[in-house]
Subunit: 436 residues, 2 copies
């Protein structure tokens, strides 16, 4: 898949090795990172060693399994790590780019094993360590995600918490954090106390810098992202794409309702962002301190701007069917593809990740790209261009344990629908099939 190689002369095969005691957010970080990379079309997969272990041991590993003197268990854990590595190499061979080994990888020996195996396979290694000694944070993590693990299904809460804490202490006995003296030649980032500081060592290569840039911008504080399209526009009513028309009367009403809704949310210190186009500027006109971003502008339909889908199909049927075949990568002549939009949104996404509460008012295709990221949909190329983002509806996005909760709030009033369902592969010439 040539389109996916981000940098022909770079190193497309990377192994990211998570490091850290249990309950340090390794899986959280691994999953978030994987989703971000997949979003920008860098094929990424997480190999979670806990999942391998649970499969092998049929969900029954109590803390004793992690006791440093349990030789049999140590042997098993080594085999699990090797199995995951092999799976990753196979996946690399099939075109995968970034494999993330999600495990504690807490001993030097284990990390050296990984480095050696990767060297044999010409695979770069980048370590991501999470160090955290904030006891409240860890207690919170154990309570919210650890006591629900399959291995604790037959324990009560205090038992499970005690068992998990024992597991942490067993790991601690053998744990060597990455350190510059010993690991000076390794490439790594150490995330200290949930991002209050970072140590970055020997940052090299396109993928690793991208990863670091991302990790340095995310935070886990509570906040809400409100995502909305502009109110219904005159062009929406005419079913024309693109353009720079103003709001319809109903669109104006939506602007009012949006303002009322946001006031009811009682967010202090909320940012408001829109695009440079009239319809988002008008939708946010009643807010103060609105920042207008060119990066939020609608997907540029190039030569097809201002037309209806029917006109496009009539004037250029090949073009229309090419788009249906590969809507994600299809680039309008002199315009953009969904993939182009994702790439231009990347710096803005970093801002979203970095910031607190924010209301983002943009456009259908741009909403789809952002929603795909927060919703962590799989198979982006297939699904992203068809995500439903109705007009006059706010998506309220709040982070939870590993992903986001997304609530769809229909504010109204009624509006046209601009959603075009996926065309069936061999379109029969019926009436229902007509694109709207």
């Amino acid at each position: 898949h040539a389109r996916k190689v981000p940098d022909a002369t770079g190193h497309p095969k990377l192994c990211v090795v998570m490091v850290g005691l249990p309950a340090r957010g390794k899986s959280y970080i691994a999953q978030k990172l994987a989703f971000y990379l997949n979003w920008v079309q860098v094929d990424t997969q997480v190999f979670n060693l806990g999942a391998y272990r649970r499969k092998l041991l049929q969900d029954s590993s109590s803390a004793q399994f992690f006791h440093p003197n349990n030789q049999e268990a140590r042997q098993k854990r080594r085999l699990i790590a090797l199995r995951a590595l092999e799976d990753m190499f196979e996946w690399h061979a099939q075109g995968g780019m970034v494999g993330i080994l999600d495990a504690t990888n807490s001993t030097r020996k284990r990390r050296q094993l990984i480095v050696d195996r990767c060297r044999e396979r010409d695979t770069e290694v980048f370590f991501v360590e999470s160090v955290c000694e904030d006891d409240d944070r860890i207690q919170e993590t154990i309570k919210s995600v650890k006591i629900g693990l399959p291995e604790y299904q037959y324990m009560n809460e205090p038992q499970a918490i005690a068992d998990f804490k024992a597991r942490i202490e067993y790991y601690r006995q053998l744990y060597s954090p990455l350190c510059q003296k010993v690991d000076g030649l390794k490439s790594f980032i150490k995330i200290v106390n949930v991002g209050s500081s970072f140590l970055v060592n020997r940052l090299e290569g396109y993928l690793a810098s991208r990863i670091v840039r991302f990790l340095m911008n995310v935070h886990i504080k509570q906040r809400t992202i409100y995502l909305s399209r502009h109110g219904e526009s005159e062009y929406n009513q005419l079913q024309r794409i693109g353009g720079d028309s103003d709001l319809s009367e109903r669109g104006q009403q939506y602007a009012t309702r949006l303002h009322e809704y946001m006031s009811s949310q009682k967010v202090t210190d909320m940012k408001v962002w829109c695009s440079t186009l009239k319809r988002t500027l008008s939708t946010t006109a009643t807010f103060s301190n609105v920042k207008s971003w060119k990066a939020l502008d609608e997907l540029d339909a190039g030569e097809c701007d201002g037309k209806t889908y029917e006109e496009i199909k009539e004037e250029n049927p090949t073009l229309a069917s090419q788009r249906d075949l590969d809507k994600y990568y299809f680039r309008y002549p002199r315009g953009e593809s969904y993939h182009d939009v994702v790439l231009r949104l990347e710096p803005l996404l970093f801002e979203i990740e970095r910031t607190g509460d924010v209301l983002i008012v943009c456009h259908q295709a741009v909403c789809r790209c952002l929603l795909a990221y927060f919703q962590r949909i799989d198979n982006i190329e297939q699904k992203l261009p068809y995500l439903e983002v109705p007009l006059h509806t706010v998506l309220k996005i709040t982070p939870d344990s590993y992903g986001c909760k997304i609530e769809s709030v229909k504010l109204g009033p009624e509006s046209v629908s601009t959603h075009r369902p996926r065309a069936t592969p061999t379109p029969p010439p019926s009436n229902e099939e007509k694109e709207q």
Copy 2:
């Protein structure tokens, strides 16, 4: 100047405090950073304490001035620091955003003084420390830039080197590097051994993250950036802007000459980047492994795309004169401004900074934006849109002590000129005035 505020709810007033022994690249980093920020329209100014000192002492400070026991000199240095701070505050009051205090700031006391004064003025503080114990690197810096300082004009080379080394040792006696234990609440980046590792502490705010992102991507290894426009296109010959035409015959010849020239440069492992438009793809067609970036596409002239300047002026004289008035910020209807292009080039610039030898084939406006960065022109808004970047010419850009050397290599063949000189404020209706 509302357009310049990057983030209305952020902290537009920042004081960046350089920290480090002499010859650690502080001024180099400060200047590079300042230029980058100005390029993205974040008003930045460097306050170099060496310059204040030289003015006060009339260029005569030998190492003795820096002796820890020289009480009188210490008093003077404190006054100099306070003067620079005052100047920075005044500049902030006039709309400046990032003031960079370029000095050793090597004692805790001095840094605390700065923090306290900034707090009184509601100014955020971000420290940038450079630590380097690579003796060869420092020797090299002393030889290449330090012995030429005004204070050494009457010394020979060995004397000057010895004096500068004595200065370093005097500073070392009082130097406290930033450390997480003591400075844990401060916001800082520590750059260790020319970027081989970084420590980032309490990164907060839009500007500081942008600064960190930049500093983590720059390197000082030798390399060359070759910048070129595409070969002459059919539209160039017709004096039409934009479009997606192919090369003229002469443009094809340029492509051949460019390939020959690059071969003669004997660069191993060179990257080749172009835009997504035919004329740059054709210009680089004979290279292998070319990466095509949408970010390198020509400034989008929106509704004026494909027209000649004369047609634009005829159809919409107001538009044409608006553009002449403020060419940098002028955005074509449904198109882009130079400023928009700079912003979309920013992620690509990070790639350029991160990478080694590279040939970039793009377009007039895009070349202007990149050239402005490397040439570090002042008064960007006024000058950038008028930089001359002729067709069929390669700009060979190599970094030197504090900036870049830029060599213009005319490869030919002859081509049309697409340069439009600045319109005079009150255009007399003469013939010379006509835009080409």
